[in-house]
Amino acid sequence: MFDQSNLIYRYDGSFDGLLCCVFESYDQNEIPVDIVLPVSPETMLFSMKEIRTDSPKANRVLASIPKKMGVDALDFVRRAFLTCLPKKELYILLFLRLGYRHGPSVMNMLTDDVVDKLVKAVKHLDKESHLLKGFLRFSIFSNILVGEIEPKNYVLPLMSQHFCERYPEERFLIYDKTHGMALVYQPYQSAVIPIEDLELPEPDETEQSYRELWRLFYDTIEVEGRHNPKCRMSQMPKRYWKYMTEFGSSQKTSPLKLENTTKLLIP
């Protein structure tokens, strides 16, 4: 076992970049104390090492993961990379080092601190993406479904398949405000692209009336004798309410521009 050196890796933020950090760690027989993005501030205490993203190196690491510790571990690491866990890069590197040593059983080492941290982070990610599959609300503008979310984790890649299968004949856009990314779909093709700022037009009459119908349904379905706001809050935390139709007219406040959207959807 090596000591963690007084070294910080800086990488470009891509998954391939992180795999190159793993390569470097083995190549140089060293374990960094942190792995950071280019925008992170310099610290005086540790020396910073720039890790260049290099496809052949990344591919060698990528191919070795399923071989040494199984496909489940690769899938796990890919999802861990989407989480909002602080220092996730370092934990992933430490996890992979464990995996190279112990093989597929690394997935069972649930009481190990590194594995435990990542398992909980991935669970949080999975839970958030599952919740948003239900909590996301679309509004319909010129027959395009547009929805906005503000997740903690980078959930778009995990939501993509669900919505593409659900609305195969529609055109839709899901804007992730936290990460400045959007999932766009038109029949039989989808992409996740960076979007900075979008503005939505006023909803038309039909859209308005379905929103009102939904609010009416939501308010009516409650059995008053069982009113239980605490239970509702634990099932559906308040941070999700902002974009949900049943809680008033939040849609207008978001600065989405539809012109860009239309262009994106009809290339």
């Binding site: 609300r137 509004s139 929805g147 195969p168 004949e169 009516t220 379905i221 099932q235």
Partner: protein, 442 residues
Amino acid sequence: MDVFEKLKILTDAAKYDVACTSSGVNKKTAPGGIGSAAAAGICHSFAGDGRCISLLKVLMTNVCAYDCKYCVNRKSNDTPRASFTPRELAELTINFYRRNYIEGLFLSSGVLKNPDYTTEQMIEALRILREEYRFSGYIHAKAIPGTDSTLISHLGMLADRMSVNIELPSQSSLQILAPDKSKHSILAPMGYIKNRIQENSTDIIKYRHAPKFVPAGQSTQMIIGATPDTDFQILNLTEGLYKKYKLKRVFFSAYMPVAENTMLPTIDTKPPLWREHRLYQADWLLRFYGFAANELLDQNHQSFNPYVDPKCNWALNHMEFFPMNVNRAPYSDLLRVPGIGVNSAMRIVKARRTATLNFDGLKKLGVVLKRAQYFITCGGKALEGLKITQDAVLRSLMSEKTYLENFPHQPKSEQLSLFEQLPMIQSSLTQEDILKCLTSPT
């Protein structure tokens, strides 16, 4: 009448139905269509009462020929009436579905004219959804007792799940409160649906593309607290329904007084949410934890312990089973430990392949040590510093609120055997205490 008014009336009339999940079937969209279904189910919202909203839950009509005493829609009740046309309902469903408000439709109905006519209306709504919109989302349809079996069969080919409401747990309760329904009229369609599911499963083996009959299975619900039926009777009935009719779920609904009637609890009675909660906990133990109904309750104990959940109660009465070594015990035994659920039991089995578990590790796996600590050892050792006093055990097995409400003066250091004590505590309760417990939500 516009669609707003109809939606309001027909939602209001449907809200007491509880079987509103969207789980049990995985489905891809039909070619050129819309919609899919996820086996785990997806909740789209939670109402102010904390219950999940996953389906557009409405009645086809609240006009009803029946006069069930407990029901808001009974013939003799003076309430506004409305009916959806099949097309209105289909359009509403699709428009909600496109906006991702819902997973699909939950369609029940009052009995308009007669059961057959009502079912024909429901079939037409579902036909428009499935054939015209090519909708592959989730549909749950109610089988109206007394409907011709050919129509039930037709409805079942269009729906993902069907249910027939038991309503009241015994024939005698039915006779008094639902004179138009009988045990037979409820169990006959249930048995028919079960047989059709079985036939269909062999069809699917023979012909790969045979259309599926209620692929998500059938469920039922019953009202708790409107009649004198005990928890023991209800739980036994539930177990029987799982075994005999292969039901996917049995739902319980605490009785909400909606009618003044000498045979019913008075209109100011609070719904027995506490009892409902315990029944759901016990139902979970039947379905996922390998418990039998008669392990949880018996002839001499017909009601659930108000203070501790059914699993804790069972454990306290079976201390010969404990303490259990978590590093060795089989999965099925782990499931019997209070504080260890299905997930943590699976994680224990996985994790102990690579390392010996200690209490610290168990915490990481999600075991609720506060409860489990009294029932387990790690390699022969109990948790260090663990004091088994009645006070400590009780406190950890009950919710803080219940404990403080009921035992405010319990001396802390008293060393008593809790396990002999519990029945006594129960019997020393005043009627008032029990009532308080029954009516406050846990």
